[in-house]
Structure formats: structure tokens, C-alpha cells
Symmetry: C2
Subunit: 428 residues, 2 copies
């Protein structure tokens, strides 16, 4: 009782925004997915073991021994100047022309999301996001009390007509839309890519409604012939987020944001108050890697590795999954988005799937409005192809059993409660 | 004009809290202090070159080559479990008994400050802080629209009677005090240490008024016989912040927060939405260093190095500074806090000091209320002793000239405008 009283005492002290920070019911499930007997199709961890670890180790060891006074010291809040130059060269592969002055290095692109939300969002402001959308972004938006309004996507990405309709409706309602958040290439979780034609249309619609665009592009360079970034065509409207998590290594936590000059200045101040400066240790490791290692070839290796895994997953889904299931066919990236037959519930099914030694992320985490009960995200980035096939085989068995249960006891769908659900960014 | 109009357009989009994020007038000055001809007594950068860089480089190279799959991968939002065990052992040196379950690893202690402020502070909530207080904390508090109320300190640290008086007054005014923020040991910027007797008194006063305490202790282990932490005597009231920036290396950006269990849970959720997880690359480097290197001996080396520099500074001040100046005599840490004679203004004097090739941080940055015009922070952590002596010699010359100007043209003090001033955490 004493303990309970203390807990209540803290609750009374929290800021209003803390009410939006609640652990997910499915968190406990994820504690077990690292067990070797479980095939996890849940996490979004890149396969960093594909890096030449001996060579990278030597490179970093030499860097610390030779330039430790810089590598181990505080840096500037905006990030290392030379690294920002390299980042501009990386972005040039997507048609972006930018000055290193307008780049801010962040603790992963996640921090960029946090800082952008912090400087733009007052409680109740509207953010538009794809339906479904990246779970980590939804968590950040909730932590600043944003009101997320979803806009549907299909195999060609965000649907322009739906965006226009939503913006018109919100304008009629007199609601302020601060920005559109989108992952245009190899979307997380849907795996789809926004077509070039739609990119132009969406830029146009957002210009008409004077809405900023946050273009989050962690997977773009995993395309052999990278799509032209939206930022390339509207430097004043688009704030671009990039990351080395998928092209080098996620454990370094180095991402960046490219923003219009005035916004960049605010972001640097926000970054200072959040973390003082990004780690020089990580930043200079990335800088050295880009300066001395064949990074383009390594990205090609990653791309081929993930393509093989994607093919394994799509093939296994095709041959194993029972009728009534549908799924996206991504051209690249990490994820397939699967829709279960009517009457099935991916969240209710999750514990049974884990009992059968396969894990996925239920779809509800990717919506701010309680949708996604019939959906799930399947990732193919980390397990090896034979494990992916085995995982899909197990999953198909679970789904078949659920279908039998549904047919025996009637549709479970009607009894599913609504509610916002965020599993938290541990699933990336 | 077009450019100007766009800038205004962004301004209109920002959140209310962004209004508190403004660059300091003295920022431009700091751009030049890294020039070799200038003796900088401004920065708070530790002297990381004192580390055995070859050995540390080898250690890290081997770590990446041997355990790259873990080192370069995402980790948990709370931080590496084994590192959290080591952190508990470090805190035990200050009398703290804690479970690794209640530790959250952060991107430097700065992120801990940010997360604590985010979960506790609604706009207008009161935070108590020493006068003067750590500039980086004031920036974070401002970014969440806190109302900072200062409580004076003297050579024995925060003054208990003044704390009680302030709390009584705020209670009469019906204002909610969320927490007291304090750097009890080798305070930044004042250099003073809170006495053991006062620690008990302050715990008692805060218990009476039911106010939480944020104990920020980056310098504590630089004491040969570390003071008992306030957290050691009240685990439910005190949230403790620690950092490896001064005991290992600042460029790793590894700090932590130890909080009551319920608060810890909120902090993990806030950390996830802010940066997903701290860098495994940095965390496992720290873990390996603590596991394999003589870290206690290295701290002793740092301590002796800083003591020599402190003695150089105190000796130079004693012999060089003109009458009318007073300063603190720190038992350890990085900083001396100097008060100029009446009528002098440390901020107005800063450009003239830089012209004479010496830099310091004007006192105004360490107050949220425009105080500190006669004060300055002098750091002795980074320059070598002979440079410190030379810097103080130059500074003394500048002050002498200011005194002559004052005596010729009358007190400049009366013409000094008031106003909040935050130089930003680039001065740490």
C-alpha cells in the first residue's frame, strides 16, 4: 500500500504530456522474441553482421588512437562540419542539392523527429501521417500531444486525392495542420514506395494548403537506382530526415535533418537543450568510414542481401499462407504489410503466434486511431532466408487455426474493442 | 524580401515553446575562442588527452571486430543491462545503493535533464535552481517553458535558510514547485560544494514541502574521497544524474539517471520517443573500459591534473587580479566563479577580453533572471597550467583597463540593460 501511495504521488507530479506516454500491452511479448527458438519477423534491426567487422574495427581503433583528443571530446551541437559535407554528398544521390550549413547531425533520425515535433507542435496541433505510419514517429507525436490524422496509402504510396480531401476537410473545420509526415520510399511498415508522379502531386497539394512536409527516408539508398527525394524539388517546404542506421550501422545512432535555414537554427538550439551535441565518437567513425571505406559497394551488398530475404518471404507467403490473406510486395526496404482474413485479430493472435515460435508486430501500433486489427508487419531484414521460410510456415499454421476457430465460433471481429495502441519504438 | 517573408512564415508555424529557444548575443564570440592564440577559460571540456589513447584505441578496435554484431546494433531504450550494473558500482562510491533496474542510460546527463523536464514540467511550473546554475540546465528548462526561481548559494553551497524562505513564499503565492535542481559537488559554474550538514537540511526542507530533488553530479568522483550523494539518503525523493563525460570521455555521450521505479518507467518511454535507444557503440565502449581498464587510477590521474590547474589559476588570480575582484576557491571540479568590482560588466567586457586573447563565460548565462553582470566563469580544466597563468595575466590587464575607464567616465553599471541571457550549452 505504501508503495502504491508513492506511485500515485509521482503520477500527480507529471506534466500533462506524460499522460500520452504509456507502455503497450504487447511490450511484454517482445521481451521473449530474442529467444533463439523464436523466428522474429517483428524487429526492424538491420543485418550489421554483413559489415567487414575486422576492417571496421581496425579503422575505429586507429581513429581513437590517432585522433582521440577530437574523437573523445565534446563537439558542436550542429554536428561535425566535415561529416555534414559527406552527408550532402550522400543526399546528392537522391537529387538533393544542399549546403552543409543546413544539415544538423542527430542521435539517429529519431532525434530529428523529436526536435522537429518539439519546435513545431503545440498540444492539439494536427500532424498528417500515412495509414499505417512508423510507430516511432507516432510515439514522438503523442509525447508532444499532437493530434495525428491518418491519410490512406496503397501500393503506390500515399494517395494524393485522399490527402487533398483530408486537407480540405480540416480547413473547413478550421484546424491547423502543422505538417505531413511521410516515409516515401520502402515505407515502414507498409513496404510501399511513393511513385514519382505522386511525389509531384503531393508537393503541389501541400503548397496549395501551405503545409510543410517531413520526408523521412532511412531506406532510400537501399534502392539500386534511388528515387528522387521530394526535398530535391522543394527545399523550402520539405524537411528531410536521413540516417546511417540502414546503410552503415544502427548502433552508431547517427542520423541527420536537412531543413530550411531558419528552421535549422531552431533545430540546433533544440538539439543543444536535448543532448548538448551528438557523439563525436560515433560521428567521426561514420566520417572515417565514408572517407576510407567502399561504402557504396557495401550498400550494394546490403541491398542484395535484403532482396534475397524479401524474395524468400514473398515466396513463402505465396506458397504457405491460407486464402483470404493479402500482403504488399515491396520493391525494397525491410517490411511486408499483411492483412488477415475478415474476423481475425492480429493483436489477439500474437501470444498464440509466439507460442508457435514466430513473432510479428500487430498492426495497431502503426495507427494513432485504433485501426490495424487485421494487419501485421512482417520484417525480413534480420533473419536468414531459411529462417524466414520457417517463420512464415509457422505463421501460416497459426492463421489457419484462427480461421478454423472463427468458422467454428463465429467472427471474433465484432468483439474487438477500439483504442489507441502504441507498442513503442523497440520494434523500430 | 522574399527570403524575409519565408522566414516570417516559419516563425508563425513554431510551437509556443520555441519562443524560448533564442540564440545568445555572445554565441558569435565563442566561434573564435578555438583560435590557438586565444587562451580559453570559457569551455568546460575535460582534458581527454590524458587518457592512454593507444590502449583505449586497441580496446575499442578489438571490441568492434570481436562483438560488432552487438556493438553496431540497436539496443534497448533503457540502456545496456551490464553497463547499468557497472553504473551501480560506480554510484556505490558515493554511498548509493541502487538496482540496475532503476537506471536509465542517456545521451550524456544532458538528455537525462531533458527527459526529466519533459515528463514533469508543464508551462509555467516552477523549478528551483541555484544562483548561479548550470547553463545547459537553464536552456532545457526554458525549452519546456518552466519558470526558474533562483536560490542563492555561498562557499558552502545552496543556502538552506534561503531555500526554506523561497519555498514558503512560493507556497503562499500558491505556486507549484516541481523540483529543486542542484549540482551539489564542485558546482557548475560556482565551483562550490554543498556541505554534508546542508545536504541533510535540504533533504529535510524538500521533504517538508514535498518537492523532488534533481541531483546532478558530473564532478563528484573527481573528489579523492567522494561526498555522500543526497540520493543515498532519500531514494524516493532524489533523482540522481551521473555522467562519464568527466571520468572517462565526453565525446562518448554516455550519462545516466537513477530514479524511483515509477519515474524510471516514464523516463524509458520518454527516451524511446526522443532517441529510440542510446548508442550501443558508446555504451559498450564504456562497459569494456570499466571491465578491463584501471578506471579508478585514471580518475585519480584526472584529479591530480585538474588540481594542478586549479592551483595555477588560484595562484595567478591571487597575484595578478586587481583589487575589488573576488572569487571562489573550489576544492575540485573545473570552475572558478569570479565577481568583478562594482560598475564593471562581464558581458560588455567580453569582446575586449577576446581582443586581448583571453575568453571566459559572462555570468548572465548562468541565471534565468538577468543577474550575473558582474560575474564570470573561469574554467581551468582544459588549458595547461602555463596557459592558465598567461590567460589570467591577460584577463587582469583587461579588468584593470575597465576599472580605469569606470573611474574616468563613471560607473557603467547604471546603463546596463536587464534581460534574460542564455549563451547556450556550447560552453557546457
Amino acid at each position: 500500500m505504501e508503495q502504491h501511495a508513492r506511485t500515485d504521488a509521482y503520477t500527480d507530479r507529471y506534466a500533462a504530456r506524460a499522460a500520452g506516454m504509456v507502455p503497450s500491452e504487447i511490450r511484454a511479448l517482445f521481451a521473449v522474441v530474442s529467444r533463439p527458438e523464436i523466428v522474429s519477423l517483428a524487429g526492424g534491426a538491420p543485418y550489421v553482421s554483413a559489415l567487414p567487422l575486422d576492417i571496421v574495427g581496425d579503422m575505429i581503433g586507429d581513429l581513437v588512437a590517432g585522433r582521440g583528443a577530437e574523437v573523445l571530446q565534446y563537439g558542436s551541437a550542429q554536428g561535425d562540419a566535415e561529416l555534414r559535407e559527406r552527408i550532402c554528398e550522400v543526399m546528392a544521390l537522391e537529387g538533393i542539392r544542399a549546403s552543409a550549413e543546413d544539415v544538423v547531425v542527430t542521435v539517429g533520425a529519431q532525434q530529428a523527429l523529436d526536435l522537429i515535433t518539439k519546435i513545431f507542435i503545440d498540444p492539439g496541433d494536427v500532424i498528417l501521417a500515412e495509414a499505417p505510419s512508423y510507430v516511432g514517429a507516432l510515439g514522438t507525436f503523442a509525447s508532444y500531444q499532437a493530434d495525428v490524422v491518418h491519410v490512406p496509402l496503397d501500393e503506390g504510396g500515399l494517395i494524393p486525392a485522399a490527402l487533398r480531401e483530408t486537407l480540405d476537410r480540416l480547413a473547413r473545420e478550421g484546424r491547423r495542420v502543422k505538417f505531413l509526415y511521410t516515409v516515401p520510399t520502402f515505407q515502414n511498415p507498409a513496404g510501399v514506395t511513393l511513385t514519382a508522379a505522386r511525389r509531384s502531386q503531393i508537393l503541389e497539394i501541400c503548397a496549395e494548403h501551405d503545409v510543410l512536409i517531413i520526408e523521412d527516408n532511412p531506406y532510400g539508398l537501399l534502392d539500386g537506382d534511388p528515387m528522387r527525394a521530394m526535398r530535391a524539388d522543394d527545399p523550402e517546404r520539405v524537411i528531410y530526415l536521413g540516417s546511417f542506421s540502414k546503410t552503415i550501422a544502427s548502433g552508431l545512432r547517427v542520423g541527420w535533418v536537412l531543413a530550411p535555414h531558419a528552421v535549422r537554427a531552431k533545430l540546433v538550439l533544440a538539439a543543444e537543450s536535448a543532448t548538448l551535441c551528438p557523439s563525436n565518437f560515433s560521428q567521426l567513425a561514420v566520417r572515417e568510414y565514408l572517407n576510407t571505406q567502399p561504402w557504396r559497394e557495401q550498400i550494394k551488398n546490403f541491398r542484395e542481401l535484403y532482396r534475397e530475404r524479401r524474395d524468400a518471404m514473398l515466396d513463402a507467403l505465396e506458397t504457405q499462407m491460407p486464402g483470404g490473406c493479402t500482403w504488399t510486395r515491396p520493391a525494397g526496404g525491410f517490411f511486408v504489410w499483411l492483412t488477415l482474413p475478415e474476423g481475425l485479430d492480429s493483436k489477439a493472435m500474437a501470444p498464440r503466434a509466439i507460442a508457435e515460435r514466430v513473432a510479428y508486430v500487430p498492426g495497431t501500433g502503426f495507427y494513432a486511431d485504433g485501426s490495424g486489427r487485421r494487419q501485421m508487419r512482417l520484417s525480413y531484414c534480420f533473419p536468414e532466408p531459411h529462417r524466414i521460410r520457417e517463420g512464415v510456415r509457422r505463421l501460416a499454421g497459426v492463421v489457419e487455426q484462427e480461421i478454423r476457430l472463427r468458422d467454428t465460433f463465429g467472427g471474433a471481429g465484432s468483439s474487438i474493442p477500439n483504442g489507441v495502441e502504441a507498442p513503442g519504438p523497440h520494434v523500430v
